[in-house]
Amino acid sequence: MTAQTDQRTSDPFDRDDLPAPPGATGALLRSLLSAHRVRVTVAALVLLVKEAAVQAGPLLVAYAIDEGVPAFRAGDHGPVLAVALGYLLCAALSGVLQYVFVRGAARVNQDVLLDLRGRIFRHSQILSVDFHERYTSGRLISRSTTDVESLRELLSEGLQELIGVVLSFVSISAILLYLDLGIGAVAVASFLPLSFLVRVYRRRAGAVYAERSTAIAGVIVKFAETMNGIRPVRAFRRERVNETEFAALNHRHERSNGDALLEMARYVVGSRLVANTAVAGMCLWGAYRVASGSLELGVLAAAVLYMRRLYDPIDRLGMFLNSYESAAASLTKIAGLLAQEPGVPEATAPATLPARTGSPGREVTFDKVRFAYRTGGEVLPAFDLTIPAGQTVAVVGATGAGKSTLAKLLARFYDPTDGAVRLDGVDLRDLTTPDLRRGIVMVTQEAFLFSGTVAENIAIGRPDATREQIEDAARAIGAHDFIKGLPDGYDTDVRKRGGRISAGQRQLVAFARALLADPAVLILDEATSSLDVPGERAVQRAMDTVLAGRTAVVIAHRLSTVEVADRVLVMESGRIVEDGAPSDLVTDEGHYAGLHQAWRESLVG
């Protein structure tokens, strides 16, 4: 396992380390918090007042003893009553403010998380199919769950801790400086080694947490892959091999998790040592100065009490740094994801499609289109192709001939490297997403069903469709009967009781989706492979009736679908080598004639 990863560490995808521009992590955190600046300030103020109310306790004790007792002896109950009232007030105030702070902070916290989750999700949806094929669902899950979780830890405790820490450091340093400049200076000077410790900790912990975030993503990827492929895992008895592989990934996470905790332990020891040594040193120095008469005993007594409290928040600072580093590592990963440019950007100045004239289909033009991978491999050399509105074009050719690439360019899953794909003369890049998807719909071989009911899955084609329209679409494709036969008909949850749907049935649902979307151009990319012959016939019937007049591009191995086409394109190594009506091509001696012959032979038996 490790050997593989080592071999391919040059690829940021494999290392799970997408580059983010410098400063992107901080910018992300700032932009997440900036909308809540006011509420964060208010929360901080609430916390300040609450701390003051809590600190009033000792003062009230002093007042009660110094003033209350003599007054009470003198028969004046006023000061004692005042103490009682004051304490009641402080208690109530700290209780109420505690409540307000926790709720207010939670609101900010949750809003930030909602915002961040939404950003990750929306951005991931804009990124290209290409990207997702390399990034994997597991990593995206990791980004939007465990990585968001570490920001949550920072936000839920971090603010409180940070404010507490700053407050104590500042106020107590001020008091110490006020009591005695010398001792105060020593206290302030002790911050120097402390800040050094903090820097060392941050550097080391940052690396550990980045590693941990990658490690847990690896665990999640493996986990998700196993659960999604549980049938073959079972059938090929992969359980033990999987366990070994999972153990390695899990162990990597365990290591880095332990490393993170050990870094924390190291910091705690270091900072405590510095703090306690400083206290001992200040005491010693103070005592000598008292002995030499340059310091009042009372001042030293007070200073000594405050010294110890000066370093109380060191552990809390550690906890804050801990959650900060963990969150920073996660945010860097998230920022790397968010920095990915969508391969297929939204139109900046959208154009509108001309109104459909007569025919429900639209004309498709490939204008000097060339397509090559970013790495350089040319898939489609430059070509021109015009498909008139309403024409059904079949694309045939061997695997790897470029058929799917052609389809993906038309569906704008990719943009061409050179040239333009146009719909009724409008460049696809200038169309808004809704316009593009009303215009062109692609049905692929993988008929994925989302959680939810069958009806909801069909309605993806048109979210505002009525139940009647959904059923009509299903009926048109011959899926109505089997759907009716499910335990709850159209309302059967595809994940729940009896909701098991075969691959062929899923393809029918996918077709119903496409029918419902009612596009001007329909692309079928090997979309009938799992259908039986009657299913294929139903698809053809639907294309003749419901979809009549639409422009259609059909990629199919089964030439039965091709037979109904008006025109056939034969592709070979990225080039269109034959182009004509099926009846013409059959009589030629070309590729198509050969394919057709083979297919006829496969039918008889």
């Binding site: 009470f72 926790v102 949806q125 999640i220 073959p232 059938a235 979210p463 032979e601």
Partner: protein, 623 residues
């Protein structure tokens, strides 16, 4: 406040007994962690002990400071000052070391507990019945393996120790308080009872909400996963906005739940802050009066109150420590919901052979006494219904009698949803037949060890899944480690995959699957086929193995596959005449029953449904 969890979609229909927060005890749930904690118990207990000692040291240091100021410094005793400073330094070093030691003690063990629990979950999930996976969204499983386990680890690291440390501190504090002045001490004891009541109410409610939040995280995980797995559909229909809306709604719900949690936490925290303060205030006033009356010395009152104030943090922290424990408890509960699910039994349900007569002679057309015997694959009165199917639903398969003779290839043909795939899944026992029995060479598969059965039967699934591994590893998976380079070449050849594999960047070493190069449907299907045949299995089950291939390739694969099938007993699900041609005989499956068995030509003549399925012409057969 809603008393019952109203998670919009309970992760599973009913496998777990109702978790409505009443019959559930957080402590009892957390005790279930013991088997995992047991191996590290020494370290954990030592760490707790160290934490207590360290807290005591922290209490002693101020005393030393006081002694230093009041004694040597006041007496101007330089030797004493040096000694005092030395004590202070030693105590300080000891404190620092103990703090670090505690963390060092638990760092590795606790990550280990988390990892072990995760590994167990993974192992368990791999062995739970397929029916379980059909029901549970993988996001829900994933969230149990990640965020839930982190909560458990954090519980073991922090609340568990500090609930103990704080309890000891508070107890010791109270002993000190009562010793100093028992009447004032009693005043401080009064809030204990109301606080205990409030805390227990809080615990119950918080647990319910925490559980809901965790379930919602699971749902969110599912949506994220599906948004990637279904990205082509989302893109193809331009639905990324509505997906985002759906996601937003779900994460908005999670935010709502989290805010309810925060409100509960805020409330308990406020109460825990307010009530003890009130008691201290009362003690202060009463004490002042006593001092004024001369019943108490001012020094005792100050000492008493400073002890009381020192207890403030231990008491206040109980609020969030309880909250964290409660979250850990619900996370544990979710974890064990999966761990408690029944694993697949090694041997199937007691079939006992009481069902149906052996080998229905009526169905096997040419059941010559010669070919009969024990050989091949024999289905005897096999029926199947999903364990979670409603009671009134008709069984998926009903009274299947079928015999595939040794070396024979039988094609299975049937309309969509007739149960073909389910039937094939019964052979390697991916699902257990609910009735009847299946014999391989005369041996009841329900009585076979699963591993052995699956090493005898090789499969190619309708949807070819490749794992994140190299092409070679993916194919050789089918062969138990017995096959090497020549077998790999042969299998790739049979599947006509050798050509395109050679053109891959690194040939058979090219990484494919989710974390590798993505191949086309046809390419994946050919690799899956190669995987099925690489081990020269005795029994082969192919589910529509050539659907994604183009005609030329299909013809070549067929020719090569014929060679393989010649001496293999095979069941092939077929949608097309070309695939049927691989088989010696054909069985027609209709509404969960075998409607006819015969050769392709016989059935074309005798069965209208078959003719319809093969040609698409004529009326819809038995529909």
């Amino acid at each position: 406040m809603p008393e019952k969890p109203v998670a919009p979609e309970p992760p599973a229909p009913d496998p777990h007994d109702g978790h409505d927060g009443h019959d559930r005890s957080a402590v009892r749930t957390l005790l279930r962690l013991w088997p995992y904690v047991r191996p590290v118990r020494t370290r954990l207990f030592t760490a707790a002990f160290v934490a207590i000692v360290a807290s005591c040291l922290s209490l002693v240091i101020p005393l030393v400071l006081k002694w230093l100021v009041d004694g040597p410094v006041a007496d101007r005793d330089p030797g004493g000052v040096w000694l005092g400073a030395l004590y202070l330094l030693l105590l300080g070093v000891a404190e620092a070391v103990l703090f670090g030691y505690r963390r060092w003690l638990v760092a590795r063990p606790l990550s280990g507990v988390e990892a072990r629990m995760r590994a167990d979950l993974y192992g368990r999930l791999q062995r739970l019945p397929i029916a379980f996976h059909d029901r549970w969204a993988s996001g829900q499983l994933l969230s149990r393996g990640t965020t839930d386990l982190m909560l458990v680890r954090m519980f073991l690291a922090f609340p568990l120790t500090f609930l103990l440390v704080n309890a000891v501190t508070i107890l010791a504090g109270y002993v000190l308080l009562l010793a100093q002045d028992w009447s004032l001490g009693l005043v401080l004891l009064t809030p204990v009872i109301p606080l205990v009541i409030v805390c227990s109410i809080f615990e119950g409610r918080y647990g319910v909400v925490a559980r809901r939040a965790q379930d919602q995280v699971g749902d969110l995980t599912t949506v994220v996963e599906e948004s990637v797995l279904g990205i082509r559909i989302v893109k193809g229909f331009g639905r990324h906005r509505s997906q985002a809306t759906a996601f937003r709604e779900l994460s908005g719900r999670l935010r709502g739940t989290e805010l309810v949690k925060a409100r509960l936490l805020a409330l308990i925290w406020a109460v825990i802050t307010f009530v003890p303060e009130l008691a201290i205030g009362a003690a202060l006033v009463l004490g002042t009066v006593q001092v004024a009356d001369g019943d108490l010395s001012a020094g005792t009152l100050v000492a008493f109150l400073s002890t009381a104030l020192a207890l403030r943090w231990p008491v206040e922290s109980i609020g969030f420590l309880l909250a964290m424990s409660q979250e850990a408890a619900t996370a544990t509960e979710r974890y064990f919901e999966v761990m408690d699910a029944e694993e697949e039994p090694e041997t199937g349900p007691a079939t006992g052979g009481t069902l149906s007569t052996p080998a229905g002679p009526g169905t096997t057309a040419a059941s010559g006494t010669t070919a009969g015997g024990p050989g091949g694959v024999r289905f005897e009165g096999v029926s199947f219904r999903y364990p979670d199917a409603p009671a009134d639903a008709p069984p998926v398969l009903d009274g299947i009698d079928l015999h595939i003779r040794p070396g024979e290839t039988l094609a299975l043909v049937g309309g969509t949803g007739s149960g073909k795939t389910t039937l094939t899944a019964l052979v390697p026992r991916l699902h257990e037949a609910s009735g009847g029995r299946i014999l391989l060479d005369g041996e009841d598969i329900a009585l076979m060890e699963r591993d052995r059965l699956r090493s005898l039967v090789s499969m190619a699934f309708e949807e070819p899944t490749l794992f994140s591994a190299s092409v070679g590893e993916n194919v050789l998976m089918g062969a138990d480690g017995t096959a090497g380079e020549p077998e790999l070449r042969r299998a790739l050849g049979v599947a006509q995959a050798d050509g395109f594999v050679e053109r891959l960047p690194e040939g058979v070493a090219t990484q494919v699957g989710e974390q590798g190069l993505s191949l086309s449907g046809g390419q994946r299907q050919r690799l899956a086929l190669a995987r099925a045949v690489v081990g020269r299995p005795r029994f082969l089950v192919l589910d529509d193995p050539l659907s994604a291939l183009d005609v030329h390739t299909e013809a070549r694969v067929e020719a090569a596959l014929r060679e393989v099938l010649r001496d293999t007993t095979a069941l092939v699900v077929a949608h097309r005449p070309s695939t049927v041609m691989l088989a010696d005989r054909v069985a027609l499956l209709s509404r969960g029953r075998i409607a006819a068995v015969g050769t392709h030509h016989e059935l074309l003549r005798s069965s209208a449904e078959y003719a319809w399925l093969m040609s698409g012409e004529g009326e819809g057969g038995a529909r």
